[in-house]
Structure formats: C-alpha cells, structure tokens
C-alpha cells in the first residue's frame, strides 16, 4: 500500500509538451482518475508513474520513496494496458502466473503457492473456467478480466489502468465500472485510472484530476469538479451534456452591476455573484449553466434569455433541447411533457442564480462555483 506523488513533472516529445508541470498527490488506497480529452497527456502521465517513460523534469514518489530513476520492475506497480497486452503465446493461466513466475525466487514463492494465488484471483474475477484458453479465444470482456487478474496477482503497491473499459460494449462497460470499483475498495489498492469518459470518472472515482493539454486543470471529488469547476474547461468537459457557456460583459452602474449577455441584460441581483464579479474586477466573463439548471418558458419573464428552439432530442425520461441564443447553442434538459417545435421562440431562465457558475474570460479561472 502506498501513496503516489508527482512533483513538477514535465515530459516533452520534441516540441509537444505532453505533460506540463504536473503536481499530484494520490492518497493511499484511493481510486484516483485522470480525466481529459484524447491527447491531453493522461497515458504519458501514467507511463511516467509506471517507469516506462522518463520525465524531463520533476520527480515521482511512490510510498514516499523517490522512484524517478528506478526501472518499472523495481517500482512494484502493475498496469492494465488499454488493449490489455495479454501475451498471445501463453494460456490465461500462464499470463496470470507470469508476474509471479519470473520472480519466484525474489518473492520466495513455491510452485504450489503460485498456483494457489492464480486460482484465487481467477476465482475473484470469475475466469476460472478460462485458465486453459489462449487470449485469442477470449471475448473483450474476458480478456479484460484476465488483464486485471494479471495486474492483481502480484498484490502491487499501485494499480495503474489505461482506459481499461474503452474496448468493451456499452452495457458491459457499465457493469464493469461497478465491479472494478467494488474490487478496488475490497482490496484497498491505490489505483490510478485513466479515462476520457467523464461519466466513467464521475461514477468510479474518489477523486478526479481533470487534464487538458498536459496540465492539471483541477483535482477534486466528482462532486467538486461538477459543482465547483476551477476552470471553464472543466465545466465544459464534465456533465452530460456539459455545462453551457455564455459570453457576457459586466458593467458597473454606481452600486449596481449590470450583466449583458446574448439575449439578456439585467442587474445582477444574486449577492454572491455580484460579489464575485466585483472582487475579480473583470469586464468579460463566461457564465456557466448546467443543462438541468435551466428552465424553458414559453412566455417572457424578467431575467430570462430569449432564444429559439433548434433541435429536440427525446431521451425517454427527459429531452435535451438545443436553444440558440444569438448564435450560441445552449442545451437544456427539459421534462418529456414539454412540447416544443424547432423554430419556436422560448425564454430560458436559470433555475436559481446560485447554481450559475462564473469564469474570468481571460484566464478561464472560476470566479464562483455553483451551489448544489
């Protein structure tokens, strides 16, 4: 059991800065998720922790020990690769036993003990009946379990996983999320898990680090990154659909603060919001609103945003309505009972200004989060 710390880690590939001054502290036993769009440096970060990539700058600590210069084999980490990387010439049994067999002497294990441990983890992952097969004869879900088993059998200090569920079909993916999380909690192994799927991250993580372009934008619990995104990028990355962003200007009129947005102009009445804007002293802001925190009205009311229905996506229990406000598309979650026609004029109203997030347009940094 161990914690993992990255200190100012930088990795460049030629001109590309894949990992840009990353600082992280993953606590012992934590299920930690690196979340970000494709190409943001998640895999590279994971590979640096595994020792497969050497950082250009910075240090890596596992269990308080500086492992930056250690080989992967000396770090006591296990990794599940995106495509599982099961050895095709070995049976499932041999695959799982491999990490134990190759250092049988070092670990002081007998053949019987290895056999016992392979069966133990195979039983845990429900793959006992597959032990004699070759990886080529397994389905994606089965291969994934074997890869997990191989990573588990050694009882490593840290478990690293690179998008392990991305090759599975949607249904299996949801099942495996729950199972993986249960397994991780049951074993208490520090886990660093990479994904680009925000729903996966939200449902599994103890804490999430949201990455973009090699940088960590925010580290927090799923709740924190959802309600208190530190950066406009986080708000637009998390949520399904993610938060809507409106570009607005603020002007001071004596004591009043006037908010000018597309299709909307009014005095900011919410004291918290007014305070945040005043304190930052900025002119241009992004307003962030979650689709589920917006109401659609058919008639104007003070403090609403006027727009036009663009597309309606019925999802059964709800519908997603795309509304254009002066060219900006805003997605709104509406009850299925609301009947709307494309082209219809509607008025959007924030359910509660406390749930509206505000970001500095220049830096993207949050001025105010949402109150859940």
């Amino acid at each position: 059991m161990a914690d993992v710390r990255l200190e100012n880690v930088v990795k460049r590939f030629g001109k590309v800065v894949a990992v840009d001054h990353v600082n992280l502290h993953v606590k012992d036993g934590e299920f930690f998720i690196l979340l970000g769009p494709s190409g943001c440096g998640k895999t590279t970060t994971l590979r640096i922790i595994a020792g497969l990539e050497y950082p250009d700058e910075g240090r890596v600590y596992i269990g308080g020990k500086d492992v930056t210069d250690l080989e992967p084999m000396d770090r006591d980490v296990a990794m599940v690769f995106q495509n599982y990387a099961l050895y095709p010439h070995m049976t499932v049994y041999e695959n799982i036993a491999f990490p134990l067999k190759i250092r049988r002497k070092k670990l002081g294990l007998t053949k019987e003990e290895i056999d016992e441990r392979v069966h133990e983890v195979a039983k845990m992952l429900h793959i006992e009946e597959l032990l004699d097969r070759k990886p080529g004869q397994l389905s994606g879900g089965q291969q994934q379990r074997v890869a997990l088993a191989r990573a588990l059998v050694r009882r490593p200090k840290v478990w690293l996983m690179d998008e392990p569920l991305s090759n599975l079909d949607a249904l299996l993916r949801v099942v495996m999320r729950a199972e993986l999380k249960k397994l991780q909690k049951q074993l208490g192994i520090t886990t660093i898990y990479v994904t680009h799927d925000q729903a996966e991250a939200m449902s599994m993580a103890d804490r999430i680090a949201v990455m973009n372009k090699g940088r960590i934008m925010q580290v927090g619990t799923p709740h924190e990154v959802y309600y208190k995104p530190a950066h406009v990028f986080v708000a637009t990355f998390i949520g399904n659909p993610p938060a809507n962003i409106l570009e607005c200007r603020v002007t001071q009129d004596g004591d009043k603060i006037i908010l000018e947005c597309p299709g909307h102009r009014e005095e900011i009445r919410d004291p918290e919001l007014a305070d945040a804007v005043r304190r930052a002293g900025v002119r241009e802001i992004y307003l962030g609103m979650r689709p589920e925190h917006i109401k659609i009205l058919k008639h104007p009311e003070p403090g609403t945003f006027k727009g036009k229905v663009y597309v309606v996506e019925p999802l059964g229990s709800e519908q997603i309505v795309d509304v254009t406000i002066d060219g900006t598309v805003v997605k709104v979650k509406a009850p299925p009972t609301l009947s709307l026609q494309p082209g219809e004029t509607v008025y959007l109203k924030p359910e509660d200004w406390k749930k509206v997030m505000v970001f500095d347009k220049k830096t993207g940094k949050a001025l105010k989060g949402a109150t859940p």
Partner: protein
C-alpha cells in the same frame, strides 16, 4: 448480383483462366520432372533400380554420397554427409546470428545501415559469393588465415580451401556469412510486428531484459524461426554454386555436395541416368522440409 450466398463454380471461366497455366506448367515443370524420374530408372534393358544402387554405393570419394572410409578422419565423408554436416552447422549459426543482429540493431542508431550491409550477402550472386569465400580463406589475401596468423595458430594460417581438413568448414562458414542477411531480414521484419505493449507489460510485470527476450520475444518469433530454419535447410540441401566456384568439391571430394555430384555425373561422367538418380534423391530430400512448410502455410 447478390454478393452473399455460396458461389457457383463457373467451369467455363475457370477453364479459360486455367488452361494456359496448365499447359505451361505441364510443358516446363511436370514433363521435365517426370522425364528426369524416368531417366533415373533407365537401364540397358528397360527399367531397374541399378542407377540408384550405383550412386548410393559409389565409393570414388569425389562422387560418393556416403563414403565410410573417410569416417573418423577428415573429409571426404561423402556428399550426402557433407550436406548434413552443412545443415547441422549452418542452420543454428545462421539462425542465431540473424536473430542476434536483428535484435541488437533494432532501434539502434545506424542499425538499418549496418543491416543493409549485411543484407548485401543476400543480393550478390552466389557465384560471386563463392569467389569471395575463396579469397577470404586464401593464405595470402584472405582475412581468416591472417587472423589465425596473427593469433599464432600456424595450422590455420593456410589457404583453407586447399586442404581436406578445412575446405568444407571454410565453405560452411562462408555460407553463414552469405546467408545471415536472409535470417536477419526475416527476424528484423518479425521483430517490428511485436507490439511494444507486450514488452512494456512484461517490464512492468517485473521481467528482466533476459526474461523478456526468452519468455516473450523468442516465443513470438516462432513463425519467423520456422521460416528461417526451413529455408536454410532447403538452401543447404540445394547448395551448389559456391562449392562449384570455390573448391569444385575438392580437394579429393572433401567438400563436395549432392548437387555437385549430380553435376559431375552429368557433365564429367556423361552418365545422365545416374545424374538423374542423384537429382531424384536430392529432390526427395528437399521435399521433407518443403512439404512441412507447405502444410504449415496451408494450415495458416
């Protein structure tokens, strides 16, 4: 036309496409083979096995396939034995050398340059290769005798191809040099197809470089190894040109091989029937690895 469903064999089309190929194949491949086989059984009065008995029991050292009087001493041991010795030395050496070079030069700076130099051994005509071997082992200009001279090993600072003790081994070592490019190229290509993930997974799993090589890379190279071994065996069985140019099977039959014996029956003895008999024997030998390979290929 629907694409799915069992395809009907259209005999007309089949005939149009197959007939020219079949005619050519019959005229230039099947007929000569059958002719050779027929000749090999030809005697004064009809057909018999005498040619085979004669070539197998032949005891003139430069024509013998098996030459027991030479056993226990230096060659000649008979052409068939020479071919077998050739295979026993050449196959493991070439296979291992090719693998080692390909592995060491993978991802090495300038690796592909060195690989292309080694590959030259493959592209030069074997006749030229035979000449080069002759020079390489020449007392006055050759590098190998010079090295032994430098090391003070007088007995090997000689023109290797002129002595029965060294002629065969000189040719075999020379063929290693000529043929390693093949084995290296096959292995280099095969190494490229091994996903980096397997090796990295093994690293994280705690395997050392050695274990990665022997437990992951080597087993994954099995198909390549099969090709290299079988092709080398085939080449060794058919070997002719470098022997012809470098030693002409000499001295005293000490470096002769099956194909050269066949040629000698044909061109020197003018005994076509015996030449055909040796040719058939040689063909049967090459069929063993050939059929094995073909079956593997069909099975996929």
């Amino acid at each position: 036309m629907p694409v799915a469903g069992p395809r009907r064999v259209r005999w007309g089309v089949l005939a149009v496409f197959l007939t020219p190929a079949l005619i050519l194949l019959t005229a230039f491949v099947i007929a000569p083979i059958l002719g050779t086989v027929a000749i090999s059984f030809e005697c004064k009065h009809g057909f018999c096995l005498k040619n085979y008995v004669d070539v197998i029991t032949q005891q003139s050292p430069d024509l013998a396939l098996i030459y027991p009087p030479g056993f226990g001493g230096p060659p000649p041991w008979g052409a068939l034995i020479h071919n077998i010795v050739w295979i026993l030395i050449h196959v493991p050496l070439t296979t291992m050398l090719g693998l080692i070079i390909a592995y060491l030069l993978k991802d090495t700076l300038g690796g592909s340059f060195i690989k292309s130099i080694i590959f030259i051994g493959m592209v030069i005509p074997m006749v030229v290769g035979g000449l080069i071997i002759r020079f390489m082992f020449d007392k006055y200009v050759g590098i190998v005798p010079k090295i032994f001279q430098f090391l003070g090993v007088k007995s090997l600072a000689i023109t290797w191809t002129s002595y029965p003790q060294t002629a065969l081994i000189a040719l075999i070592l020379g063929s290693v040099w000529l043929w390693t490019g093949f084995s290296m190229t096959i292995y280099a290509a095969a190494l490229e197809t091994i996903p980096r993930d397997y090796i990295e997974a093994a690293k994280v799993d705690g395997a050392s470089e050695r274990q990665i090589f022997f437990k992951i890379i080597l087993p994954l190279l099995k198909p390549a190894t099969l090709v290299v071994v079988l092709m080398t065996i085939l080449w060794d069985l058919k070997i002719f040109d470098i022997v012809f140019v470098a030693t002409l099977g000499g001295p005293g039959g000490a470096s002769t091989v099956m194909a050269l014996v066949m040629y000698m029956y044909f061109a020197r003895e003018l005994d076509f029937a015996k030449a055909a008999a040796v040719a058939v024997l040689l063909a049967l030998l090459t069929l063993i690895p050939g059929v094995y390979m073909a079956r593997r290929a069909v099975k996929g």
